[in-house]
Amino acid sequence: MSVSVSLQVNGKAVHADVDARTLLVEFLRRDLALTGVHVGCDTAQCGACTVLVDGRAVKACNVLLAQVQNASVTTIEGIAAADGTLHPMQAAFKECHGLQCGFCTTGMVMSALDLVARHPRADEDTIRAELEGNLCRCTGYHNIVTAVKRGAAAMAG
């Protein structure tokens, strides 16, 4: 069975007729070539596929494309400025060495954006608790926590 879906992805209107079982992550990676959205597990545990759906962090491996009808989806590819200037959260991850292999990073940054939207002045404990849905095997989280704090401060201006 196929379904017809309309949504916004990184600010652009997208329309697609897809198999009803198509996951959001499959659509983003395969059909839109947004390969910054990564798949690290099959149980919605790792968070590498995190994107924003209407501003909320969502694991794209756990959502059918049909569920985001008319929604606005933002991926890691959609947050830098048009001239390529990194989003303050992306810049903070670089400045704080908050990434190593880079695989979890894209989901981690998207989760951080949601976190900061809800907790603009999050302390370290809050950041650690809020990153519960994102696994990183490289950094030990130390520099990610620092990066989120710095990114939040930069976003607050």
């Binding site: 390969t35 798949v39 991850f93 670089k94 400045e95 292999c101 950041i127 990153l131 519960e132």
Partner: protein, 791 residues
Amino acid sequence: MGASDAAVQSPLGQSILRKEDGRFLTGTGQFTDDVNAPRQTHAYFLRSPHAHANLRGIETARARAAPGVVAIYTAADLTNVNGLPCGWLITGTDGKPMNEPPHPVLAQGKVRYVGDPVALVVAETPHQAKDAAELIEVDYEPLPAVVNVRDALAPGAPALHEQAPGNRCYTWALGDRAAVDAAFAQAAHITRLDIVNNRLVPNAIEPRAALASYNRADDAYTLYVSNQNPHVERLLMTAFVLGLPEHKVRVIAPDVGGGFGSKIYLYPEETAMVWASKRAGRPIKWVADRSEAFLSDAHGRDHVTHAELALDAGGKFLALKVETTANMGAYLSTFASCIPTILYATLLAGQYTTPAIWCEVTAVFTNTAPVDAYRGAGRPEATYVVERIVHQAAVETGVAQDDLRRRNFIRTFPYQTPVALNYDIGDYDATLDGAMRMADVAGFAARQAQSRTRGKLRGIGYASYIEACGLAPSNVAGALGARAGLFEAGQVRVHPTGSVTVFTGSHSHGQGHETTFAQIVAARLGMPIENVDVVHGDTGRIPFGMGTYGSRSLSVGGTAIVKALDKIVAKGRKIAAHLLEAAEADIEFRDGKFSVAGTDRSKTFGEIALTAYVPHNYPLDKLEPGLDETAFYDPTNFTYPAGTHICEVEVDPDTGVVDVLAFTACDDFGTIVNPMIVEGQVHGGLAQGIGQALMEHCVYDRQTGQLLTGSLMDYALPRAHHLPAFKVGTQVTPCTHNPLGAKGCGEAGAIGAPAALMNAVMDALAPAGVRHLDMPASPHRVWQALRGAAA
């Protein structure tokens, strides 16, 4: 690196932000699953649901007729395909080579672990491949299974391989048993310890993946694979398994999302896919899902050990005796056999002057996934034995933890251990002092008292570890059974306009080589690091290299680049001497300029580069044009990073929850090129070491051999809130035998952390009467230990 060649504003030692971050932060990194080939198909591997069974038949007719199926292959199709080789031959105490049973690419006659690949299904889509696999009828005759080493060695245990009687791979020993026995006879005190080093699953966040293509036009294959050493992968696959000409296979390991050892090895999946890509006439892609990673990635650790330490009345260690049984899993993975031997027993001297050491290791086959190197690889296991028994000895003899360690520290270098290694340099007092200062050990008693008022048990634990890194002198490794060389290659290609591309045999899967190696080149040639690009991970572009494992990239791979730079500068001097009409001996190179000593006459590096490629005024009779040099570097010794880690925990006796309050690491990695990257490596290693001690544990069901911890919902990986902010510091004694003075930093965290954490837990639980605990110190185990002690 000659002091006269150093740039004024040297980027060495600077925390320069990483060049590679841009692509990872914008989603433009290229991991294997991001690569697609025209007309690509998708693979699914049908895996054994049984831990041990005879394969009586495989019926694929229905599956072949399923929608989208391109081909289905089983062992019967893989004619002229050999088994997967093991890269290290261990010779047993009986003088015989280890038992080395065949490791078929697809199961032949028998399956030996849950997840053993039985058939390869190739279809138009991943879902069609999976659906078709469900239609394959495999006639299994289940057999009894063994998953732990004790059961496998028991008389009458089910036998996995005809070639391995009693499920033994080898029994191997190192050291002087007679000297050890004599020392024990003289001992004032003997500490005994039985411990288990828990089995782990590496869990790089990017699962293994591969894309194999065959091109009829040039009769050549291309394999994209998430791998740490593409040349080793290619050599093993072509020369030992598939019998293909090596130059007809290009292996590309693009961006790789973490490895930690698990992506060193030649696995069945990509081997079968390369073979099948020609047969099927279509490119084939496979991406493991996480459940598949748990079943089929090489696991780590899994030792059972009895150790005894003899001390004299003054607390000096007289001798150490260690007996270890190591689980190899069902088949020998690429480097499995050397992990619990060459990389384990040789480290049992630790930082101490223990004059006599004897270690015997029995390696055993079980019905579990193959076990191989995982971050630290043998050295965490050795440190865990040494540092837990030292902790216990201090408790038993009433000597303070730091004091007992200091009474036994090696202070004279070079130091020949009784277990084969020769430590070139170190300062163990400096790292212990540093760690104690950073951890505020002086204030611990007050913090402990404060915890007590809240009903909590607080403990502090030490681990003074050593590791042997910079693998390795090839002749030494060869004498110990290595079937490969362990050098590294580096090529420095200067372009006519003076910018540089470095081609390295090392592979970065998070370690930041694109930045660190660029710093080395920029410092030497006196140019901005933006002018230096680093290429790795592609056998079609880089010289033959051995890849990244064993914390070897900077000390071995970096040194190869330094050696290539030496050649570049030497040739540049000759060109400059010609242009400046001076004697070569009078040419100095500094800050990117070749100058005639004592004059203001000079040529920039860029001018020399251009001259090399536009040789109009050039000594063509004596010198080839071009500026492109390659060096192979084989180290003369291992490097010996060392340090002390101190962990402070608080245990809630009501729940058994262990809270890691503070973790301090003071390490000596030799000279550091990029402190920011080094700290990041330490953080990551600590997280994995803490994970092992606190929560990670791979469990197979003892009766059925089923993997009980087969997903991230069952196997506990540390999350941000499980870990503290780390306190990390360094002391420096430069390595004496490589020009960078570098020792390696990638594994230290995972090596020191488990023992430090468990010693802290033991310290916390001691007042409650708990005498023993194995990893992981999960709430359930801690709670049970407290109840057991109270009973």
